[in-house]
Symmetry: C2
Subunit: 144 residues, 2 copies
DNA sequence: CTTGAAATCCTGATCGC
DNA sequence: GCGATCAGGATTTCAAG
């Protein structure tokens, strides 16, 4: 039941509670309470509009791996992770330390960004040809 | 003006049009039309609930790089990219070809997934320690 | 979880700049 | 083209059962 609600809200985050109720055969206040509970449990962390960088004039998307020297990590976090072009930043195991997803307007801008990151460690940059899966909804099949 | 609307909707995708109108000093029908236009332009591609894999019992998150042999690419796409554990999949430049973000319940499950992917090419797996930036909203600063 | 009533919101038409 | 106002219908919210 909660899974059905989660699936529907991941598909359309603006579904009204009454529409949601119709789908799952529950009254509107009942689904409202379930959604509020999922929020307070931290299962649902928010609702958001999905925006296309390309349509906004940000045609370049790339993944930058940065091997940050440990002494430079604090400055890396305050100088690089706050840049608006950095859409995702994960600290990971392995030699690469950090994986950043970056969007920008041009290769020149990307070059500048990577030069900044180079100050904190070696980088490896991959340009994204195409995204075949983007933020796939979590589904009960994960527990099949 | 459209930027203000985009920022607010990326923060809270369920904001009502009247609340949105109050924030930007516009009437509800006016903001409604602007949002509809942003949707039809493809700037806003949808609305979604943001769900926490960890809170759902998926504590392992990892980035898998797969160097898929080109002859195996069609099967890779139909056999791997459809798995529910694969939340993101990008085709990228460079030696690695594919970058996948994967969530799962345990290291055993991750091992099985990586073994499947190994059938299509060499893999390199990085476990995510922590995500310091996750889906940062696109902001006008990108064009500062 | 459901019901029901009051407050709020959404939608379309119409008008004005 | 863009936004404001208004009325009718739908939705949200809160109380009570």
């Amino acid at each position: 039941m909660d899974w059905k609600i989660l699936s529907l809200l991941q598909e359309d985050g603006r579904l009204s509670f009454t529409a949601l109720g119709r789908e799952v055969s529950l009254s509107a206040p009942a689904v409202t309470e379930r959604v509020r509970r999922l929020e307070s449990l931290g299962v649902i962390t928010g609702f958001t509009a999905v925006v296309s960088p390309a349509r906004l004039g940000l045609p370049i998307e790339s993944i930058v791996r940065v091997r940050v020297r440990s002494l430079d990590t604090p400055r890396f976090r305050t100088q690089v992770l706050v840049l608006p072009q950095v859409l995702d930043a994960d600290h990971v195991t392995g030699d690469d330390c950090w994986l950043l997803r970056v969007v920008c307007r041009s290769m020149v801008e990307l070059e500048e960004l990577v030069e900044v990151m180079q100050r904190y460690g070696d980088t490896t940059t991959s340009l994204v040809f195409s995204s075949h899966v983007r933020n796939r909804p979590l589904s009960p099949e994960l527990f099949g």
